[in-house]
Amino acid sequence: MQLGAIETGFVFLLAVLGLIAPLVLIASLAERARGFAIALILSASIAGCLVAVFSFLKEPALLLELRWVTPFSFSLTVDRLSAFFLLLVCSVAIPVTVFGVPYFNFHYSEARRNWTWAFFSLFLLSMIVVVTASTGFAFLMGWELMTLTSTALIVVEGDSEDRRHNVLIYLLMMHAGAAAVATAFFLFLPHSDSLDFSALRLAGATIPGGLRAAIFVTAFLGFGAKAGLIPLHLWLPRAHPIAPSPVSAMMSGIMLKTAVYGFVRFAFDFLAGGPWWSGYAVLVVAAATGLLGILYGISEHDLKRLLAYSSVENMGIIFLGLGTSLVFVANHAPLGAALALTAALLHAFNHALFKSLLFLGTGALSHSAHSVNLNELGGLQERMPLTGTAVLVGCCSIAGLPLFNGFISEWLTFRSFLAGSTLLNSKADVVLPLMVGVLALIGGLAAACFVKAYGVAFLGRPRSARAEEATEAPFGMRLGLLLLAAGCVFIGIFPGILLRPLVALVQGLVPGAGVPNETLSIARVIPWIALLIVGVSSSVALLRHKKRMARTWACGLPGLSSRMEYTSTVFSKPIRFVFARVYRPDRKIEQQPSDHPYFPASISYRSVRTTSYERALYRPVVDSIVSQALRLRRLQTGNIQVYLLYIFLALVSLLALLRFQ
């Protein structure tokens, strides 16, 4: 086999992450060996970025045939879609690895550190396999490995009763999702002789309508579970917060994107658009996901849970773009479809950057201030200026503010809603323009949520002694944060660098699409706006040369304390009050003693958001499974003769079946 430079790089990447780095880490506990392994992981990630960039430019796509290594059909390919996601995975992995070095050093013992890095490397490998797989088998292998290694990384942090329960839910839902994805693959089989992606692509063109709809729905369910679309999001706010921060960053930043990749592969590449209603179905689910995700997020005061819910919201935004694109594909409007798909893919990339930035920022907080509870933080911008600035950039990006990367993709999504009715002058659609309102509400609430997150955690006065004594995070952490923040700002001001290749990629997925005008116009206007804003603010700053310290007005009291500040809980109270129907809080007030209403010795107040999904949606399913299992238990007598009888009966019936077929 002739290996060119790109192929060599790709093989190096796979070998390092899958074999060399884990083996080195398991074989030796020495500091030097670990350093070597981490350097290998880093260089593999850099190699991955290079492979992605160069194979994007190369035709035909890089193909790595591994049939001779494994007994199954196992091959990897880097076509344009894969290259984009490979770039996403590897470019986020670099800062996360840089951040992880000091983080794992401070938090774990020697042995655990090695296991963590070994699983980290395998986790990275699994995601690379998923996005580059070119057979169903390879895809499912990577998919499963991804679930298992991420579980291992969660369990490394500890395994209390509570955590085990959450991990169990994570595993259960991931496997249910994997089952749906596998089903989606197998449904192709009557019309395709193998599960090679090229065969599936061919079969996709000829598959009859009913089967097509079935494949679409199972794929949507499977990837929706991975993406955390409501109501399949249950695992996400449980699993992400309990992982170590760099792992949360990987899970939220990258792992969720593999679901986007899988969905795009199925819906656009294999099926070339689902049934006519598919776009609307995706839009409805995505709108609910975005709105409920951010509403749940804003009510959280645990920063990691808040970020996990905001991931749910952002997956909603990405799927809004994908749904819009499907609507356009169904209506034979390739230009609009290309625009919406570009928006969704760009948002996936942007979300990978800013969400991993924010999760790493949370890691820096838990390292320096020993808490991720917003109500125990505060005043940290002064104490950790670099971390604070990086997190501020992340918050601006995720809130979709201009000059930051989140804005570009949200803007493109907005414009794609209007593409049908204003630009193409085709049949105006009622649903898509109304989605502008939904996305605007999501964006407004997200801005409110991240004003709260950053403002309460980093501004004002410290709310606890731990926050008061916090110091800046170590160099490695700051470097990781800075890299991601720089990426957010750069893409926010010069989006053209990503948009041009993205449009080229999307044109391959949506046949007949030209270059959407919007992608050019935003890349032209944003640098000028950035120049105007920076110019005006820096010249106006000269006006204010004199400055004097003066205590905050305390209404005549001797001074303010941090207890007088707004907390995270009270900041979101108005929004929780207005959307009380969504939260359905369970309130309990207890007074001691109860017979003295006016002079109680103590009052305890508890308010918990009821998880109505569990009650209305999951509980019946679980109950019916348990009752079926109880019924099946009658088969289990514990008597070996009976089991032998079962085996005998099974054998006889199978033989009979074969005989009469």
Binding site: C396, L418, G437, G444, W553, P574
Partner: protein, 313 residues
């Protein structure tokens, strides 16, 4: 030539903004049978504030000083989108209304952060309420603009204005009325006027914007006040040019431009009289009635969008 007019137009929105505030205060005083201060008073106040020193709480961070700059710059940038005397604007054809709305959001985001950085309860109170109002106001604002954009088949503001100019003055559709109603309601909320926020109060039960800026003084406060004045005039000018652009200059002759400016002043004057009547006649809404108010605006704007798509069909 056109660029020069665009720059002058933006400068007029920026430099004339305090005057608009002064006129509103004067009109309100007349309606309430007071004599009222001179309409030039906001300029005097602005100069006074800009000459003073900045007082900064010792617990605050760099964000406290950055916030007014970001707000001011974003508002200046936003005013460059609004056509006044002729259909084009500095950024009117390059950017679209989504950009305009999100520039407002940028300024608001930083002002809220600055409020939280003061470390007092008032800042948090103002920021929290602003978060509620603005997150609910964004949807009707964008939907109202979307309705117009679909009618005009354009998303840039200059394009929409040009399209409206080409229509017959008597040819106003129901969509325009619905969109105007929702945008007018949202403008009141966005610019912190009655009945959503009271710009003249310092009562902690009611204040939103004033709560946020309570810790600011000197040039920082001056910038914030100036920015909110610019925002008010730019939003009003946007209403004028989107719904009643007639009278705008179609060529760049001096006479046409002066005439267009006169037309603009008359139209703005009508809006200002309306605004001061509303502010004198209407009581401020309770905090938790504001979502209902914005809900009505959202419903109206959604109807506008639905009707537009039907009209286009």
């Amino acid at each position: 030539m056109s660029i020069v007019i665009d720059v002058l137009q933006a400068a007029m929105l920026i430099l004339g903004a305090p005057l608009v505030r002064g006129i509103i205060a004067r009109l309100k005083a007349h309606l309430q049978r007071r004599r009222g201060a001179s309409i030039w008073r906001p300029y005097v106040e602005l100069f006074k504030l800009l000459r003073k020193e900045d007082l900064v709480p010792p617990t605050s961070s760099a964000v406290f000083r950055l916030a007014p700059l970001a707000l001011f710059a974003a508002t200046i940038c936003m005013s460059a989108f609004v056509p006044v005397v002729h259909a084009s604007a500095l950024l009117g054809s390059r950017g679209d209304f989504f950009l305009l709305v999100y520039l407002l959001a940028l300024g608001r985001f930083f002002l809220s952060l600055g409020a939280l950085d003061g470390g007092s309860a008032f800042g948090g109170m103002g920021a929290s309420r602003e978060a509620l109002v603005s997150s609910l106001a964004e949807a009707p604002l964008l939907l109202g603009l979307v309705a117009l954009a679909i009618l005009a088949s354009r998303t840039d503001i200059s394009g929409i204005v040009t399209w409206t100019l080409a229509q017959n003055i008597f040819n106003i559709s129901a969509v325009h009325i619905l969109a105007f109603a929702s945008l007018a309601m949202v403008t009141l909320a966005e610019t912190g006027r009655m009945p959503v926020d009271n710009p003249t109060t310092h009562l902690e039960l009611t204040m939103i914007h004033e709560g946020m800026v309570l810790e600011y003084s000197g040039p920082s406060l001056g910038l914030i006040e100036w920015a909110s004045a610019i925002k008010l005039q730019a939003m009003l000018a946007l209403l004028v040019s989107l719904f009643a652009p007639w009278g705008m200059a179609s060529n760049s002759t001096l006479g046409a431009l002066v005439l267009a400016l006169l037309f603009y002043c008359v139209k703005l004057g009508v809006l200002l009289v309306l605004l001061s009547v509303i502010e004198s006649a209407v009581a401020k809404l309770r905090m938790y009635l504001v979502p209902d108010y914005l809900g009505v605006a959202s419903a109206v704007s959604a109807l506008a969008v639905i009707f537009t798509t039907l009209v286009k069909r």
